[in-house]
């Protein structure tokens, strides 16, 4: 930038001398300044200025640095819907199932679009993006090479078409052409990764039925997970991978590695170990990934704890002998296997950690998760020593994590579980502050894991915190980060009850309705009982009555929800307290319709409200209703009615009838 200016300056300077001669007459008064018209930028010391002008050097930065700096001024908006949805209350999800449905449908739409673009590349040739965005251009999904050649085989491998690749390989062998070692290894990798099935695509999914899963897979099913189990594949006896492997003239360690890892991934553990002994017999050495796979398979091939540990140590020693350097995943697999070694874990886990430190491998969140699992058994009550987790959190404070192991995502929910079990609020806050550091929120996992984490955090808060703080957190995390389940709402109701903030119940009811939990009868009944338990101030009573009417309309709207005696009486009581006589009367009729019997207290209450609002006709009707139910309290009611109300003669006669009736029956 300075260079062209200097050039201009030079130009002028060269003419400057020429100009000076002509100009003195006209410009003499202007002083020396004007002799050189344009000066160079910066480097000259002017005669008239006192100090030199120092132009600092220009800073340079990456192309996104400015945008990143501006983005750092912005934080999360607690009322906003998740960013992938439209910012409209009608169009954004309100319950967790809606959230899943909407995000899956978005993904499905995207996949459909990708499918169209990739399958019709001739319509999508124009490139609007500047600079070029490769992932938006159509990618090749169809095979171009049809002839039997190694190129075609390589193409099928890159396009992940497993069965086509196997076919091509067989054809090549039949034709007598030799396939290069590298291609064969890649083919084996492909087959073992996908367990000899084509990967599920946008077309018809080839779902393996779960009944074929062997016993081994059944044992290894993780607790409480969902439909992913149906897609779990099982390693079939003598499938293409094994067949091709056996046909190979010389097998090198990479082929063995592919087979072993595939077997471990798809459940054939003992086979994996036998193949490993094969490998040892052939005096080959395995690589670190193979060892990781074998270590993770140890608990499935041995039953007793010490046998398992012995096998692990044996594998580690062999690793040492073969001069294979362990990595983070090795130690994580050791710890994961130790989790299933019972009491041995507490002795050996710290040793493993020390080994890690000695090798200079920084532990990841998965490591910490395994350690927590070892030392804090779930469900165990009683004073748990929280020292370990305290130390761990103090050490990890302020650290920013990246995902280095797929198991990292379980750390935060297990840590929160421990906090919940030990009812330690400070610890919970510490864990949450760790989540809020930088990008750590990404390590909370998928939406299910996230909901588990926030559910536990919220229960802890409801249990231990003051209601104002609970409400503050409620507005912060619900529903933008977490859709509470009925248990969570129940915890919140309890917290409101404990701190005496029952006046907030109508707003909570609105939230329950939005979340779709208004079809859970026990939750609604609990809400009603909390509202009806005590008398409150008139405005609160009014809001409760409105809420009760809303509950009634919900019950009426759904055929699956059944009224119970308690819920009916609660609603009636609430309406009575707000002096809504007509609606209360409708409720009593509803009692009759649903074959439930109102209690004596309720009827007395009704009578007194009738009296205060002066509706004698109602009182008579009430006594008639009570008689229809054959309640023992009928004569008492009749007597009170006669005594306290201004009645017509007709009404009096009706009432006196009831006064007498039961006596007749007892006779």
């Amino acid at each position: 930038m300075a260079a062209p200016c200097r050039h201009v300056g030079h130009h002028i300077k060269r003419n400057g001398r020429f100009l000076r001669i002509n100009l003195d007459q006209l410009f003499a008064s202007r002083g020396l300044r004007w002799t050189s018209a344009l000066q160079q930028q910066g480097e000259e010391v002017h005669e008239e200025s006192k100090e030199p002008i120092v132009i600092p050097r220009k800073k340079s930065w990456s192309s996104e640095a400015v945008l990143e700096a501006l983005a750092s001024t912005v934080h999360r908006d607690p009322t906003a819907y998740p960013y992938q949805f439209q910012d409209d209350p009608y169009l954004s999800p309100r319950t967790s199932s809606e959230f899943k449905l909407f995000s899956l449908s978005q993904e499905s739409g995207r996949a459909a679009a990708k499918y169209f673009v990739s399958n019709n590349p001739k319509f999508f040739t124009k490139d609007f993006a500047e600079p070029h965005i490769p992932c938006l251009m159509p990618e090749s999904v169809t095979l171009r090479l049809e002839e039997v050649s190694e190129e075609a085989l390589k193409e099928r491998i890159t396009l992940r078409k497993v069965s086509a690749a196997v076919e091509m390989y067989d054809q090549l062998l039949q034709a007598g052409t030799s396939v290069s070692m590298e291609t064969t290894q890649e083919l084996l990798d492909l087959i073992c990764l996908y367990c000899d099935k084509n990967p599920v695509q946008e077309g018809a999914p080839e779902v393996e039925d779960a009944e074929e899963a062997g016993e081994e897979t059944k044992r290894r099913k993780p607790k409480g997970r969902r439909a992913a189990d149906h897609l779990r594949t099982s390693w079939k006896e003598n499938n293409n991978a094994e067949r091709i492997f056996n046909l190979l003239p010389e097998k090198d360690s990479r082929c063995y590695s592919a087979l072993i890892r595939g077997m471990v991934k798809h459940g054939a553990y003992s086979k994996a170990f036998s193949l490993y002994t094969d490998l040892l017999n052939n005096r080959l050495s395995a690589d670190v990934h193979t060892f990781n796979a074998l270590i993770s398979a140890v608990p499935d091939v041995r039953d007793k704890f010490n046998e398992r540990w012995d096998l692990i140590t044996e594998l580690l020693n062999q690793m040492n002998e073969q001069k294979v350097r362990p990595n983070l995943l090795t130690f994580n697999s050791v710890l994961k296997a130790l989790r299933r070694c019972g009491f041995l874990a507490k002795t050996y886990a710290p040793q493993t950690l020390n080994e890690m430190k000695a090798l200079g491998i920084a532990p990841s969140l998965a490591t910490y998760d395994h350690i927590l699992a070892v030392f804090y058994k779930s469900g165990s009550s009683g004073p748990n020593n929280t020292d370990i987790i305290q130390d761990m959190l103090t050490e990890l404070e302020g650290t920013s994590f990246t995902c280095r192991d797929p198991h990292d995502v379980y750390f935060f929910s297990s840590a929160m579980r421990i906090c919940l079990d030990s009812k330690d609020l400070e610890l919970g806050y510490k864990v949450h502050s760790l989540v809020e550091v930088g990008d750590n929120w990404r390590l909370l996992g998928d939406s299910y894991q996230q909901s588990v984490y926030y559910g536990r955090f919220f229960s802890l808060l409801c249990m231990m915190e003051h209601i104002d703080v609970v409400l503050k957190w409620y507005s912060r995390i619900i529903p933008s980060l977490y859709y509470p389940n009925p248990q969570g709402m129940r915890d919140l109701l309890q917290a409101l009850d404990t701190d005496g903030r029952l006046d907030l119940l109508p707003t909570i009811w609105k939230d329950i309705k939005t979340l779709g939990h208004d079809n859970k009868v026990d939750l609604v009944e609990e809400l009603l009982s909390l509202m009806a338990r005590e008398e409150h101030s008139p405005e609160v009573q009014e809001s409760f009555a409105a809420c009760a009417l809303d509950v009634k309309s919900v019950f009426d709207g759904r055929s699956s929800m059944e009224w119970s005696t308690s819920s009916l009486s609660h609603v009636t009581t609430l309406l009575l307290r707000a002096n809504k006589l007509q609606q209360a009367w409708d409720m009593l009729l509803l009692f009759k319709a649903k074959n439930r019997v109102p209690s004596e207290v309720l009827l007395n209450n009704f009578l007194s409200v009738c009296q205060s609002s002066g509706a004698p006709k109602r009182a008579v009707e009430l006594v008639q209703l009570a008689a229809a139910f054959c309640l023992p309290a009928t004569p008492v009611l009749a007597k009170t009615a006669l005594a306290e109300f201004q009645l017509t003669d007709e009404q009096r006669s009706i009432l006196s009838e009831f006064e007498a009736a039961p006596e007749k029956e007892t006779e």
Binding site: C5, N22, I53, I55, V66, T73, D77, D87, T514, S559
Partner: protein, 334 residues
């Protein structure tokens, strides 16, 4: 029943395709019959908008309340509107109204208001947001040289000012063709120009010169890249300067009509004045030329000259007319 009608419709449609003349009429007829049949087929096909419908149908989804209800008063607005987005009525907690008022009423409310969506809004650039942005951008800046503390000093050391704009847009392409435009501004007084050079420069430059502020501004956008436009602007400046100093042969043919300002010497006004004065002084004093020169050197004639020059150059204003009047009176001793 509905399906039967549909089939009938199709059948009718097909038979009428051949008859071009009556096609339109019959098509309308078929359309009408189909519609009529559908409406009599009962509620099964058509969704019932208003009512609840029978048991087992999904209840109508409530529109939901806007999220402004949940916004606390002390929220961080810069996080709600971090970047330029269109107006979202459920995110802005202000009761704005916009549009032509309904008959005998008020402008429509913000919910579903297209007028509010059409106009640009600066909700993402509140003073708080700008403050935060400035703080975040400070590390990218170097410090200002301490010697340049006044505007005058800046002008003196850096007389040429170059301006160009960068654009940021979230779209398929980050390029913006307007980013190539370069404006170069410089004060003409900083140049070494004599009278001729200045006039020639002004003639060459034309509209790019602003007389009031004495700034020459060159805007270049003919090249596709900003660097090219910048160099072209500098080249133009250099060339203008040198060209204005050169005196071409054909410049001698400059006529009075080309002159930028009026000069009294050898003009009609001077001739008229001198003739008038000569005729007034009847007593012949000598030769013509000498008398003229003497007359010219008289003070009132000089005043007259000044007033005429002023009138011609500056135009007729109150004060210039007065000056002319005074000068004329003095010359003719009126």
């Amino acid at each position: 029943m509905a399906s039967l009608t549909r089939n009938v419709f199709l059948f009718l449609g097909r038979t009428n395709v051949s008859g071009l003349g009556i096609k339109e009429i019959t098509n309308r007829v078929t359309y009408a019959t189909a519609l009529f049949a559908n409406s009599t087929s009962g509620n099964k096909g058509l969704p019932d908008r208003g009512g609840r419908g029978s048991v087992g149908r999904r209840p109508r989804r409530e529109p939901g309340e806007p999220r402004t209800e949940k916004m606390p008063l002390d929220q961080d607005w810069t996080s709600v509107y971090p970047s330029a987005t269109s107006f979202k009525s459920n995110a802005v907690p202000l009761p704005v109204r916009m549009g032509y008022p309904v008959k005998r009423g008020v402008p429509p409310e913000k919910k579903g208001n297209l007028e509010l969506l059409k106009i640009p809004n600066f909700l993402h650039l509140t003073p708080a947001a700008i403050k935060k942005h400035c703080e975040a951008l400070k590390p990218f800046c170097t410090e200002w040289p301490s010697a340049l503390d006044t505007d005058a000093k800046c002008d003196e050391h850096f007389p040429i000012k170059v301006e160009s704009t960068d654009y940021v847009c979230a779209g398929p392409s980050v390029r913006n063709p307007s980013a190539r435009i370069v404006h170069l501004k410089v004060k003409l007084s900083r140049f070494n120009l004599d009278d001729h050079a200045r006039k020639k420069m002004l003639k060459l430059v034309g509209e790019r010169y602003c007389k009031d502020s004495d700034i020459l501004s060159i805007t270049t956008d003919s090249c596709p890249l900003r660097q090219q436009n910048y160099e072209y602007a500098k080249y133009l400046l250099t060339v203008l300067y040198h060209e204005s100093w050169k005196i071409e042969a054909w410049e001698a043919e400059k006529t009075a009509a080309d002159m930028e300002e009026y000069s009294w010497e050898d003009s009609l006004s001077q001739k008229n004045m001198l003739d008038t004065l000569l005729r007034m002084k009847v007593a012949g004093e000598g030769e013509d030329a000498e008398v003229r020169k003497q007359l010219l050197e008289r003070e009132d004639v000089q005043d007259y000259k000044d007033s005429v020059v002023r009138l011609k150059n500056e135009g007729a204003s109150e004060s210039s007319m007065l000056q002319y009047k005074e000068a004329v009176r003095k010359v003719f001793n009126v």
